[in-house]
Symmetry: C2
Subunit: 335 residues, 2 copies
Amino acid sequence: MIRIAVDGMGGDHAPEPIVKGTLMALEKFENIEITIFGDETRMAPYLKQHPRLQVVHTTSYLEMGEKDPIKQYRTNKEASMFLAMQHVKEGKAEAVVSAGPTQALVVGGHFIIRRMAAMHRVAIAPVIPSFDGRGRILLDSGANVDFKPEHLLDFAIYASIVAEKVLHYKAPKVALINIGTEEGKGREFDKETYALLKASKDIHFYGNIEPKEVLTSEADVLLSDGFTANIVMKTIEGTAKGIGAILKREIKSSLSAMIGALFMKRALKRFKQSLDPSEIGGALLMGFNGIVIKAQGATQAYGFYNAIRQAKEMVEVDVIRLVNETLDKKEAKKA
Amino acid sequence: MIRIAVDGMGGDHAPEPIVKGTLMALEKFENIEITIFGDETRMAPYLKQHPRLQVVHTTSYLEMGEKDPIKQYRTNKEASMFLAMQHVKEGKAEAVVSAGPTQALVVGGHFIIRRMAAMHRVAIAPVIPSFDGRGRILLDSGANVDFKPEHLLDFAIYASIVAEKVLHYKAPKVALINIGTEEGKGREFDKETYALLKASKDIHFYGNIEPKEVLTSEADVLLSDGFTANIVMKTIEGTAKGIGAILKREIKSSLSAMIGALFMKRALKRFKQSLDPSEIGGALLMGFNGIVIKAQGATQAYGFYNAIRQAKEMVEVDVIRLVNETLDKKEAKKA
């Protein structure tokens, strides 16, 4: 049985979509047990009895705009997110899923679950949409600003294992995001990272990609430093949002176009789905001694269900053990 | 009379769209004279006699994939692009327009036209589409990797003058692209740049913007270092391309959607136009002692015409003199 701890109060619309997504996952997957942490009174309208669901009551939770997660960790240990993480720490669950503030998950991960000995940094890795529909892992989007190339190699190894074992991509290709495709492009950081990735036997290195291929490239894992990948993720989001708004405006501007949109209803729905992150799941927080999944803050029930599915799959294939084994071998080689 | 030098052989489809765009501009604007540099035999099928058009024959030109523009500059001075730049250098034209390789324009700018004394770096500044249709200046997209915050302030001043005088935005707002909106976000570089921009009396500083607002923000000028802004530009391009391909695929996947698309034909055309860089013109190369406009490599006649229009407008308002005056005052204040 896979045991998952859920932060019932994290997310813009919590607890409703969180509780509903949790119940969807329990119905769908017979090999999971969930403990949900949150305010019982507020969750009650959506909760149902379920033999594999436990509820742990706490009135405390983190606001979405939380600016000082370290202070919260110090003063607010009963917050639903931190209790859920504590559950993993105590060996009562293998994974935690939350739609709460990302930086609080990073802080809780470090202080409660702790970092894997073999990983020297923690990465945030969203799965972004792609033309072929299978999604790509982008990292590090965590806004880390003091990275070294070695850290990116560790992330590449972790992400490759997820891409192969969880997303079922054969020999997943890892690409470095850069301003040109030729070797030698970019900053010193990019040149060093390129050399390191190219030399590694633990990944399949594809070379540099320019982000004009960001939704269409053949690569499965897209790497850059914590500043750049965060900028790429937000630019994709901003462009998709802007384009969607322009399309809507143009459709609404004429009767003929509105009639056309009726005929295109199903196609437009599939179009929207292709770009919808909730179809894929949440972002992976890589580097902790437990699986940590960050669902979208604005998640609805289906998106949260998918984040739970992701957590379950990560546990099923024992990602953390596989990553530890690969990194240990790599460390041994170096020594 | 405004005199413009055109590189007749630069661009993926040259010389056809270049010659046609040049003739369009001559028809439309009575206050311009154009000298076009290129292979007369290859341009002849599209050329027409025009009292304000001169043709200078040269068989040499630069390939679009040119990897070593410095070597080209040394060994191939008769290339159409370099001859056009020479024309500006000799005071025979105020502006040069080319759809040829960007880095060759940068090299030619440095060696032939020369940098303005008050600008310590040269920036590439494309005008990117926006929801409100008026476009935004993004810089530096030139892949410069050794910037200092002071250089970004110079660019911000130059871009603000263009935004106000050429694009007619009142009190144009300058924003710093960053991973969060609060002051203090980002790398050391971003924090220093923020402080410098905030303190400047020569621009209207808006603060940080996250690229999830890249097509919809209120800011008119979007700034970042040469690596990041290049990544942003290419991510916008890649996302738009990917989304366009997905939309096309979904429309083609059903008869009903194809019928719908017929009703939406005009709306879809306007949608495409909203995102089409050729509606706006080329990228500005800021920092030379002359106006240098880089049209899209894949430009068609209309896009090239728009790049010429842009060059004309930059000359009309005497951008370089205005920038020099503002930067001189700024230098004087510092001294």
